[in-house]
């Protein structure tokens, strides 16, 4: 698909507000065009349907020749008002909505939301559920990084990697389908635990995947790491220092690629992550290459964590013993009067959550995903706000692209791994 070119010549006397004016007055661009004549820069409209913007990101780029002078993201094309919808649902009914925020890591969203509500209720969940949550979250991270690697490499011209990545991603989606019945919008986690015990063949399936995956990561690296085109397109491109990254709210792999050793799984553990042994990959280079290296290492660490979770998986229940919050087992519901009453009450009235406000952050594949849940004591959340990593990271785009070539914008967008679903919500 070709670039949507919108050649608006700007008045050189106009300063900072010129891009804002373009956003607000794009309908009148012909007038602007007619009124100006001697200009040095032009505005290029990239997106919202450009394939390398990973969704519906629209960028307004002010360029001087091929050099980017300004870069203003224009977002909101995918805004669906999920935060507003959450306020009209019971606590349990919000879980399927969270899948749809960051559609590449549904399990991570589920986990963050469930942990927040469990914190509001003050609920302990069984160790088996914690281990399964950790295992599925790490599989989600690998799955998301595979989509990132495939599309990022494709943006920069390496088409083969995309097919390889999606081949392995398919295996993870099969695991998800086996465990939850859905490939992408899993909604597998519940407030209080998990919805079902995994089927018997699940463990062998995960084990086979974990055994196969390390050699596949080597395979991707063989395709890319020594490739002179890949190195030329990524090394020294889109540089971000540690100070800039912190000031602009960057989290996750881009933050660690800029030399900040911070990972919520290790530094503020949740869902039992303190029981697992893993390394946090950090790089000091701060460029697109460093983000590539950090994510590739992260996939290897995720395999290690998932393997530990599989090996040490305790037996026991998969949901907390809280009959007024967790739905009863199907068999009990059909045979016991009390379970039937609980089932009916939970489905029709939900469950009341004590008043208060909590913020629960987890390390998603893209960075810090935080759920801020406010309860007023009723069965529906008073306010749910999602702090999404891509939304903040997008603000660093201009710093990374300024003064660089237009072609590097594509490399930088790929390297911060944005998902527009979570930016616009």
């Amino acid at each position: 698909m070709p670039l949507t070119v919108d050649p608006i010549l700007l008045d050189p006397n106009q300063t900072n507000s010129s891009l804002t004016n373009v956003i607000n007055e794009s309908a009148r661009h012909n007038e602007i065009n007619a009124n100006t004549s001697k200009d040095q820069t032009m505005v290029l409209n990239m997106g919202p349907q450009h394939p390398s913007t990973h969704g519906v990101l629209r960028l307004l780029l002010e360029i001087d020749g091929e050099t980017v002078i300004k870069c203003a993201p224009d977002i909101g094309y995918l805004h669906t008002g999920i935060e507003k919808t959450c306020e009209a649902k019971f606590y349990q009914q919000v879980v399927p909505l969270t899948d749809r925020i960051d559609y590449l890591c549904p399990m991570t969203n589920n986990l963050a939301y469930c942990l927040a509500v469990e914190k509001l209720i003050g609920m302990e969940i069984p160790e088996r559920a914690e281990y399964l949550r950790v295992m599925l979250n790490e599989l989600t991270r690998i799955q998301s990084h595979l989509v990132w690697l495939g599309t990022h490499a494709m943006d920069l011209g390496a088409l083969t990697v995309f097919l390889y990545c999606f081949r392995e991603r398919e295996e993870i989606l099969r695991i998800f389908e086996n465990v939850s019945g859905q490939r992408m919008m899993t909604s597998y986690f519940r407030v209080g635990g998990l919805s079902l015990d995994p089927p018997i063949d699940f463990y062998a399936q995960v084990q086979a995947f974990l055994k196969m995956m390390p050699s596949k990561i080597d395979e991707y690296e063989n395709l890319l790491s020594g490739n002179p085109i890949w190195i030329g397109r990524t090394k020294g491109v889109g540089h971000l220092t540690a100070e800039e990254a912190i000031a602009l709210g960057v989290t996750g792999p881009p933050l660690r690629a800029s030399g900040v050793d911070w990972d919520l799984r290790r530094d503020m553990p949740y869902s039992g992550y303190e029981k697992f042994d893993f390394k946090v990959p950090v790089s000091n280079d701060g460029d697109v290459w460093a983000r590539y290296v950090v994510r590739m290492e992260e996939m290897r660490e995720s395999i290690k964590i998932a393997q530990q979770a599989l090996d040490g998986l305790p037996s026991g229940p998969i949901a907390a013993d809280a009959p007024k919050i967790v739905l009863p087992e199907r068999e009990k519901m059909k045979t016991q009067m009390e379970s039937l009453i609980h089932h009916f009450k939970i489905v029709t009235e939900g469950f009341a959550v004590p008043a208060g406000q909590v913020y629960q952050a987890v390390e998603s594949p893209r960075g810090e995903m935080g759920y801020y849940v406010v309860s007023d004591g009723t069965a529906k959340p008073y306010r749910v706000h999602m702090r999404n990593p891509s939304f903040a990271t997008l603000q660093a785009l201009e710093t990374m692209c300024k003064g660089k070539l237009l072609a590097d914008v594509v490399a930088v967008i790929g390297s911060i791994d944005i998902v527009l679903g979570e930016i616009d919500r």
Binding site: K84, E87, L120, I246, G249, W262, Y359, A361, G370, Y372
Partner: protein, 165 residues
């Protein structure tokens, strides 16, 4: 789980919380405090939000995670602007609250904290867009999610879920 409500109670029970001590050390900065479910919530006057952010930043809370708003309609003050700030060094998170009344929301609501943390830019635009709370000295306070010509602020409690028909 311990729950402490009120400035004096929290000061007594959490004597080693860095942010609490830093804000309490400055005159007129700490209005109220609450320690609930392992989370520290500190209420500051809305006129002094920038000063409060600078104080906690100096105290070691270096990373702004999130800015959002809660609409407590029909109470007054109506809007609760919420800041979540993280310290990488202390491995600790605090929540700052600033209350804004409906009368102030469209006028001199609250100062932008972009001078302290540039990452507040998009968050403040989002609050302006969805709640209609203005931020003074914001360089580019325009709608971010909704179309420019949209009427109303969807996340307000008096805005119906299905929108106006």
């Amino acid at each position: 789980v311990a729950c402490h409500v009120g400035k004096d109670t929290v000061l007594e029970n959490c004597p080693d919380n860095t942010a609490l001590l830093a804000l309490n050390g400055m005159p007129g900065l700490l209005l109220d405090a609450k320690y609930d479910r392992d989370e520290m919530t500190l209420t500051v006057p809305r006129e002094k939000i920038v000063e409060a952010c600078e104080v906690v930043k100096v105290a070691g809370y270096n990373f702004l995670e999130d800015v959002t708003c809660v609409d407590w309609y029909p109470s007054d003050p109506r809007f609760q602007v919420t800041y979540h700030i993280l310290s990488h060094r202390l491995k600790q998170r605090i929540r700052l609250l600033a209350m804004v009344s409906e009368a102030d929301a469209a006028g001199t609501a609250i100062d932008s904290i972009i001078p302290v943390w540039p990452s507040a830019n998009f968050y403040e635009r989002e609050i302006f867009d969805l709640f209609g709370v203005r931020f003074n000295h914001h360089p580019n306070l325009i709608r971010i999610m909704m179309p420019d010509e949209w009427e109303g602020h969807p996340l307000r409690k008096d805005y119906p879920v299905e929108g106006y028909r």
